[in-house]
């Protein structure tokens, strides 16, 4: 593994090489936004979220902090704050993981297989357990309402977004062996 100081740059690079759209804030590497599309063949398909990524001084030893900035209806995502309760991003994070793992594997897995047993959004979890159809409808309505491409276009004040080279596609990569489980 490379020295920690380089990991931010390398990970960011790998993320962009995998065709993720990244919005930087004044070229700082501590905090940026990544556009994340709902996995194909899931009820979240068609939705797109701007996910805030914070890399602390201790990255990659400490996990990045991940939060949805536009609303998503999901048992393991806090509706207010957008915080994600996922073991691989919190408790079982390893410096071997990187940002590509998060966006290619962990988050898609979380959206495909929510874990209502350890809910952060109790209402969503309860609904999912009691009435799958109503739950799925609500997920889709949320996508419809809050997760359109226009919902995540950067605000005017934010300077220079990096439009080029990155139109997201190919989220169906299932070849990675690392699976995420919602936090216990």
């Amino acid at each position: 593994m490379s020295s920690p100081s380089k990991r931010r740059e390398m990970d960011l690079m790998k993320l962009m090489m995998s065709d993720y759209k990244v919005d930087m804030i004044n070229d700082g590497m501590h905090e940026f936004f990544v556009h994340f599309h709902g996995p194909k063949d899931s009820i979240y398909q068609g939705g797109v979220w701007k996910v805030r990524v914070e890399l602390t001084e201790a990255y990659p030893y400490k996990s990045p902090s991940i939060g949805f900035t536009n609303k998503i209806y999901h048992p393991n995502v806090d509706e207010m704050s957008g915080s994600v309760c996922l073991d691989v991003i919190n408790q079982t994070w390893s410096p071997m993981f990187d940002l590509v793992n998060i966006f290619e594997v962990f988050l898609p897995q979380l959206l495909l297989y929510p874990n209502p047993s350890d809910p952060l959004n109790g209402e969503a979890a309860s609904l999912m357990m009691r009435d799958k159809n109503a739950y799925e409808n609500k997920v889709k309505e949320y996508c419809e309402r809050y997760a359109k491409p226009e919902d995540i276009s950067p605000e005017e004040e934010e300077e220079e977004s990096d439009e080029e080279l990155s139109d997201a596609e190919g989220y169906d990569s299932g070849d990675e062996a690392i699976m995420g489980h919602a936090d216990p």
Binding site: K6, A58, Y61, N90, Q91, S117, D118, L120, D162, E164
Partner: protein, 1053 residues
């Protein structure tokens, strides 16, 4: 302070067979004393403010035992002084210091209590007053007559640092056979060699062998089998070991296991284990259950010194590269005793004649020792031993003072595993690499004579002229300053010691930051410590600063400052500051001596330019945090409840009042910011502000009580009712499994009762703090629970109906996305309009008073509220509650700390400092150490060399830097790399990205000068005196492999 990079936990030496007799002599003795009424004074209350950090290590019970103990320390050389200091700080009942010798110039190298004015006085008498200053609660007295066995009978523990073997046999025999036995410790430091011997009597009970909390596990299943297999939930690894005893509770179904009987663990695995029990005919496991380790007392049978001398048994090892050393040192110390007996003095430094006769004595003793005879005697080592044997070096005294101090605590309290029985140590690697000439070791009648006799005057001069930077003036910092002053480091006009710390002295510091006194509370740590250190050695050339070491102070600690340094000593308490100092030392290529302690554990690491890896090269995993969902709704231990309590405290009393104030100070600007954010979080903040200014506004103390009562209802009843409505006890997941399965615990709502003291205490602390935040006067009766009860009982509490929000299938609103998804923007507008109205009803200039959590003030009600919140929540979930002290340790994240391990760590570091200042030592001479005085365990190892990287013909380590000459444009810089066969794909300065080849807009920067891009993007202004800019470059070679190149300096002017 984490002792980072703990080597794989070496297990405690579990040498003796265990015995179940809890009535060992230790506890018997205490009982006897109490019964006889020997303790006349009323049991003293522990000053928990003073001792909070130490209480976190020992607990109240151990502290009480310490408070009842009388200890003798005989021999007030440097070692005796260190031991006495550690015991006074720990807080025993009395310390009697004994000596018949008078103070000589020679003693000043090790004993920090003494000054030149004391020369000629009795050593013990000269120390009494200064020792007493350390802790007024401890009775300190001096004994200056010849010691006899009669003197010993009044003590629980006696320590000798300067005693011949014959006398030691006599005293130990007496102590060993005394009823109850008296714990006997003999310790010596002779130059770079040291020894400890402990005899705590024929039958000594250890109550807690390692000081660790009992391990626990949450059960997922139990088999009906022989042996029974227990599986636990997989959110936390089990830490049971084979042979541990465990008890079960809360098991449903197989209730036979809840009988409280300890059962033995076997086949311990990360998430399961077996027990020696046939459960075939037990009930069938249904659910639930907690398994808890039972810690058993252990009885040790110590041998008397006389017997142990000829049969030392297993000697504790500290350094695996010196596997054969303990028996050698066992012989050397015996030979020294014989030499002293024959000559009436120690061998003289560098004296060939004395060395010869010492070797002869050693050979004779070796010949006489039958089955332990050494094949050969390492002549060089024995000569080194003899030559330095008279010197009590400060670093050795500090290290052994820590070890022996801890052994005394063990003897008095039964806490932690005693040393069983010999320990030998040497640090010959600390000697300079060049040969020492006898004339170089000669005394010149000054305070460094002892140190010069070991290291020579050349190194002494170098130490005095060293330019040293000590970062931090807390527990480690105080010890370091004392050590450096005694060693004479930076003690000439050519040398300088800079110490910096931005903290001020608090009461809880005084139990181990021993340069501080009561009257210094509130003063700057670094200044007070510097003054105290100058009193120890007036030649110390010290500069005390109050700057935190961080990027903001690089104007104070600038390039010139750094370039002049010889060595940096960290005395820090957090990893971030350590990382920063590491980065700076790496940059300026300065040796960094790093240490840290955690309770009885300590860790020291040497970072030497080009020889070792840097501090940041390896790291401990970050502390595990409880998952959010667990803290929010599914706590299963008290830590989760306390984490929740702290976050509620902050939200209610700090964040919301701050938010209210920022609205009131500038409503227009505040509204604009909220509109701009326009999200759910903004909406929630506004809702809180709105509540505070309207519905929940408090103008009288009765309002505050009402608020507290309704908060109680909300937290501990309504929320639980809502949660159990959403997830009823029998709820099942889509897979049909029960929702409420381990580790989740099903909560039950509390019914408020003014008759319940803990309920009332919650109301009291919550209403008092609420009143404080609203500036409402707090009446006298606020602390009168009966009056409070009267008021509380009159408060009308609305009945709670769980929200039907989730049963929306039949609900008409469901299809329109009801309450939760109404447009945030509209709600925000509405709230902002309401806020304007509420603000008009306030007194002009009204502001709330945000309350910041302060753990160390027992009268401020902060910890009362936090422990109240946490314990009521624990009650909801049937989690065992904790007392306020324990709550304070967890919620206040109090780092357990004791003087002994701190002193030892600094001693070990200073042994390395000799090597650093002398220079030219190979990496094999340096040592990193992890130690745990509780076990005890010492693990020393050579530092790891830095990783070598290669590209084509060039190789480098993290200590190297690449220099690029000229004021290059970005394109020219990229070409510079291309010429080396490297593709630079990303270039950064600090945390700002200067260039990334994926960003098209960065292509515009290619023609700009690199330094200009840094100015523009990273806002970096290179100071006038600096000619270069440092950048980080991520590169690939021709095969697209990442190449981890060093920092690049662009010399642009």
């Amino acid at each position: 302070m984490l002792p980072s990079k703990r080597p794989s936990d070496a297990a405690a030496g579990d040498e003796n067979g265990r015995g179940g007799d809890a009535r060992g002599p230790g506890s018997g003795r205490r009982r006897a004393r109490a019964a006889a009424g020997a303790v006349t004074a009323a049991p003293q209350e522990i000053d928990e403010d003073l001792h909070s950090r130490q209480l976190a290590v020992y607990g109240r019970e151990t502290m009480r035992r310490l408070f009842a103990s009388d200890v003798l320390v005989s021999g007030l050389n440097g070692l005796g002084a260190e031991i006495a200091k550690n015991l006074a700080l720990a807080g025993v009942k009395s310390v009697t210091i004994h000596d018949v010798k008078t103070v000589k110039m020679w003693d000043l190298s090790g004993n920090f209590f003494l000054s030149e004015d004391d020369i000629g006085k009795n050593r013990a008498a000269a120390c009494v007053a200064k020792l007493q200053e350390l802790n007024n609660a401890v009775l300190i007295s001096a004994l200056t007559e010849e010691l006899t066995t009669e003197h010993l009978s009044k003590f629980q523990a006696v320590v000798f640092t300067d005693i011949d073997l014959d006398k030691a046999y006599e005293f130990d025999d007496y102590c060993h056979n005394h009823q109850p036995p008296i714990s006997f410790i003999k310790s010596e430091v002779c130059g770079l060699f040291g020894s400890v011997f402990c005899d705590f009597g024929p039958k000594f009970t250890v109550l807690d062998v390692d000081g660790e909390d009992p391990h626990t596990g949450i059960i997922a299943s139990i088999s009906n089998d022989n042996p029974a297999l227990i599986s636990c939930v997989d959110d936390e690894r089990l830490e049971f070991q084979d042979g541990d005893l465990v008890v079960f509770s809360e098991v449903h179904g197989m209730t036979e296991l809840n009988d409280g009987k300890p059962r033995k663990v076997k086949n311990a695995r990360p998430f399961s284990f077996s027990i020696e029990e046939d459960t075939s005919n037990f009930g069938i496991y249904v659910k639930g259950g907690i398994v808890t380790q039972v810690k058993e007392p252990k009885v040790l049978c110590f041998k008397a010194l006389r017997d142990a001398m000829t049969d030392p048994g297993e000697v504790l090892l500290s350094d695996f590269s010196k596997f054969e050393r303990p028996p050698v040192l066992h012989l050397a110390f015996q030979a020294l005793d014989k030499f002293k007996k024959d000559h009436g003095r120690c061998p003289a430094a560098g004296c060939e004649e004395d060395a010869h006769s010492f070797l002869k004595i050693a050979a004779a003793i070796n010949e006489a020792s039958a089955d332990r005879k050494l094949d050969t005697i390492d002549e060089k080592l024995f000569r080194q031993f003899a030559s330095g044997s008279r010197a009590v070096l400060n670093p050795m005294a500090a290290m052994f003072g820590g070890i022996v101090g801890q052994e005394v605590v063990k003897a008095c309290s039964g806490k932690f595993h005693p040393l069983n029985q010999f320990f030998y140590f040497d640090s010959v690697e600390s000697l300079p690499t060049y040969p020492l000439e006898p004339q170089d070791l000669k005394p010149s009648n000054n305070r460094y004579d002892a140190q010069v006799s070991v290291f020579g005057s050349k190194l002494q001069k170098k130490m005095e002229e060293a330019n040293t930077f000590v970062v931090g003036s807390g527990a480690l910092g105080c010890e370091f300053l004392k050590n450096l002053a005694l060693m004479g480091v930076s003690c000439s006009s050519k040398g300088k010691l800079t110490i910096t710390d931005d903290d001020i002295i608090e009461k809880s510091n005084l139990s181990r930051q021993f340069l501080f006194r009561d009257w210094n509370i509130g003063q700057a740590k670094s200044t007070v410590a510097a003054t105290a250190a100058s009193a120890i050695n007036p030649s110390l050339h010290i500069d005390a600063l109050q700057n935190r070491a961080c990027p903001d102070t690089e104007n104070v600690f600038h390039d010139t400052f750094w370039e002049g340094l010889d060595v940096v000593i960290n005395a820090l308490d957090n990893v971030n500051a350590r990382m920063y100092m590491d980065m700076r030392c790496l940059y300026f290529q300065k040796p960094l001596l790093e240490s840290g302690t955690l309770g009885a554990k300590c860790n020291i690491q040497m970072v030497i330019p080009h020889l070792t890896e840097n501090y940041g090269a390896s790291r401990d995993p970050p502390e595990k945090q409880a998952p959010m969902c667990t803290v929010h709704s599914f706590p299963h231990n008290i830590d989760h409840c306390l984490t929740w309590a702290r976050s509620e405290f902050e939200g209610l009393l700090e964040k919301t009042p701050n938010e209210v104030n920022s609205f009131l100070s500038n409503p227009a600007q505040y509204a604009a910011a909220m509109r701009k954010a326009g999200d759910a979080q903004a909406r929630e903040l506004l809702e809180r502000v709105s509540e505070c200014l309207n519905k929940d506004r408090c103008s009288t103390f009765d309002d505050c009580i009402s608020w507290a009562r309704l908060k109680f209802e909300d937290y501990f009843s309504n929320r639980v009712k809502q949660l159990t409505f959403t997830f009823p006890e029998d709820a099942a997941t889509s897979m049909g499994a029960p929702f409420w399965s381990a580790p989740k615990r099903f909560p039950r709502a509390l019914q408020f009762s003014a008759a319940d003291q803990s309920h009332l205490n919650f109301i009291m602390s919550a209403s008092i703090l609420r009143a404080e935040s609203f500036g409402v006067a707090i009446p006298e009766w606020a602390k009168d629970t009966s009056k409070l009860a009267d008021v509380v009982n009159k408060i009308a509490v609305p009945t709670f109906e769980p929200k039907q929000g989730v049963n929306i299938v039949t609900d008409e609103k469901a299809s329109n996305l009801s309450s939760t998804s109404v447009d945030d923007v509209a709600v925000i507008e509405d709230l902002l309009a309401k806020l304007q109205e509420y603000a008009k009803m306030l007194l002009p200039g009204f502001q709330m008073k945000p309350i910041q959590f302060e753990k160390d003030d027992d009268t401020n009600f902060h910890m009362d509220l936090i422990s109240g919140l946490a314990n009521m929540r624990a009650r909801n979930y049937s989690i065992p509650e904790v007392d306020k002290l324990k709550a304070k340790f967890i919620a206040g994240r109090i780092i357990p700390a004791i003087a002994t391990s701190t002193a030892m760590a600094t001693g070990l570091v200073c042994l390395e400092l000799y090597k650093v200042i002398a220079g030219e030592h190979p990496v094999e001479d340096y040592r990193n150490t992890f130690a745990n005085l509780a076990l005890p365990l010492f693990s020393m190892a050579e530092p790891v060399p830095p990783k070598v990287m290669k590209h084509k013909e060039t190789s480098w380590t993290v200590w190297d830097r690449w220099s690029v000459q000229g004021n290059l444009t970005l394109a020219e810089l990229l070409q510079w790399f291309a010429d080396k066969g490297l593709t630079a794909y990303s270039i950064s300065c600090g945390t700002s990205l200067l260039y990334n080849n994926m960003f098209a807009r960065h292509k515009d920067r290619l023609t700009k000068k690199v330094v200009d891009i840094a100015r523009e993007v990273a806002k970096v202004d290179v100071p006038e005196y600096r000619r270069h800019l440092d950048i980080g470059v991520a590169c690939e070679d021709e095969d697209e492999n990442d190449v981890d190149i060093p920092l690049v300096s662009v010399y642009f002017r």
